[in-house]
């Protein structure tokens, strides 16, 4: 009934009301809100995209009933086990930069092994304890990184990248699993703000040369794709596909143009969606474009 003119008039008139609440109410509201739901650990700087996804997952968890915690979400994991998985991988990034690692000591620095270890530990705890542990781990990592340079090398799970890229990857994985959880709970999950989508898409574009190599393509230097990502946070990327090629924002000589939705592309790279049936417009070398789309999920895991 948003279109009902009387309703619209009524709300418009109330917004022009001349007796607002006391000014002292505003700080009370903000303080009380903070106590009810923890704000993101960072809302600016390079850790903000990750911190935002943690806060969003926490909001989804706030919608879960007691029964929901035992429901399988993805990979045969319950919501509680999924959180332990996320905490395990956040913890490995923490380990790489000497930030606090929660839970039992890390015996193997590898994602799935650590996941199993932490799931074993968390299964013996109540879901809200697991939720608290996961959030505490993520926030501790953010706090620690506030004084770390983003290009600091980090070796996480046997894979070395600047720590900012590991954190963006953590943000993407958290986002994707939040969407998994939201789907099971029947909650509609909004996208991250466009600025956070953009840096995530940038990481995905930059991972493409490696994804091509992992998929068995030995691409000679000079072959490149123009990635036209649509929607808020999208844009144009020039993506050289040879190993060591560096994707950059903007345009350049390319043999194919792949046009698709920016969020769908991020999710494809994160292992969601079928590369064969992926909705993308292709111009130029269709074979190369297809190779890229099929290679895109190569770096994704559970």
């Amino acid at each position: 009934m948003n279109d009902d003119p009387t309703r619209r008039l009524y709300l418009d008139a109330l917004m022009e009301g001349t007796e607002p609440p006391e000014t002292s109410l505003r700080p009370l509201v903000l303080t009380a809100a903070r106590a009810r739901r923890r704000p993101a650990a960072a809302t600016s700087g390079w850790t903000a995209p990750f911190a935002g996804r943690i806060a969003a997952m926490d909001a989804v968890l706030g919608e879960a009933t007691d029964q929901d915690w035992g429901r399988q979400v993805v990979e045969g994991w319950t919501l509680q086990e999924l959180l332990a998985h996320l905490a395990a991988k956040d913890g490995l990034v923490s380990l790489s930069v000497d930030a606090p690692v929660l839970g039992p000591p890390v015996t193997v620095n590898e994602g799935l092994a650590r996941t199993a270890e932490l799931q074993e530990y968390e299964r013996r705890r109540a879901p809200d304890q697991t939720r608290r542990d996961w959030r505490t781990q993520a926030d501790a990592l953010c706090r620690h990184l506030a004084s770390v340079a983003p290009d600091t090398p980090s070796e996480t799970g046997g894979f070395t990248m600047p720590v900012v890229d590991h954190l963006l990857a953590r943000g993407l994985e958290t986002w994707i699993h939040t969407a998994d959880a939201a789907g099971v709970l029947g909650v509609s999950l909004p996208h991250p703000v466009p600025g956070h989508v953009e840096v995530t898409a940038d990481l995905c574009a930059r991972l493409m040369p490696l994804a091509m190599r992992l998929s068995g393509h030995r691409v000679p230097e000079g072959r490149a794709v123009r990635l036209a990502l649509t929607g808020p946070g999208g844009g144009l990327w020039h993506v050289p596909l040879h190993l060591g090629g560096r994707a950059v924002r903007g345009d350049g000589p390319a043999e194919a143009t792949v046009t698709c939705d920016v969020v769908e592309f991020c999710f494809l790279v994160g292992g969601r969606g079928d590369p064969g049936g992926f909705a993308a417009g292709v111009e130029g070398d269709a074979g190369l474009a297809r190779e890229l789309l099929h290679a895109a999920p190569a770096l994704s895991g559970p």
Binding site: V29, A51, G52, P192
Partner: protein, 184 residues
């Protein structure tokens, strides 16, 4: 005036992402509306401040209960405020063991969006419009009931656009006053 949907979407994304400053912006934009609505129903400023606080805290705590694809943020907040205010009045009425007045007899809304304005209250709004001075009633009727834009209202009446805009605002303010007094 109703904010564009894209604005709502971005604010919602920011709140879901845990950005406290977004809640501050939402509060600044909608607190007068939420508070005014609560005062209108409860006739009690102290209770209305409690309701205002609870509306914004609830939105922050459970932002996913709102879906910008299904309605405006303004409408959502107004709906929660309306419900809480009506609940309060009902509790009071029950406590006084008095007969529940006709304005509280509205049926439980199936769709949240319908909840803010009962037929009884809508009649009150239309009556208040009818009592506006001619020049203000004219612009309000054109802008709301004939779907004219500010520009068109100005053209229809041969007024500069700024004058048409300020007349509409004045009309809205008069209406707000009339609604606040009505039934008091």
């Amino acid at each position: 005036m109703e904010a564009p949907v894209e604005d709502d979407r971005l604010l919602h994304q920011r709140v879901v992402g845990g950005e406290e400053t977004a809640l501050g912006e939402i509060y600044d934009r909608f607190a007068p509306l939420v508070f005014g609505l609560a005062v209108r129903i409860t006739r009690d400023r102290v209770v209305s401040e409690d309701i205002t606080q609870e509306v914004f805290i609830t939105f922050w705590e459970r932002p996913l209960a709102f879906d910008p694809g299904r309605g405006s943020l303004r409408g959502w907040l107004a709906t929660i405020a309306h419900r809480r205010a009506v609940d309060h009045v009902r509790t009071q009425e029950r406590r006084k063991a008095s007969v529940i007045g006709p304005r509280l007899l509205e049926p439980e809304p199936e769709r949240l969006e319908d909840a803010v304005l009962s037929r009884y209250e809508a009649d009150g709004v239309r009556t208040a419009v009818g009592k506006l001075p001619d020049d203000l009633r004219e612009v309000i009727e054109l802008a709301y009931y004939r779907g004219r834009t500010y520009r068109q209202v100005a053209d229809d009446l041969g007024l500069p656009e700024g004058t048409a805009k300020s007349r509409i605002r004045m009309g809205l303010r008069r209406l707000a006053d009339a609604l606040a007094e009505e039934g008091a």
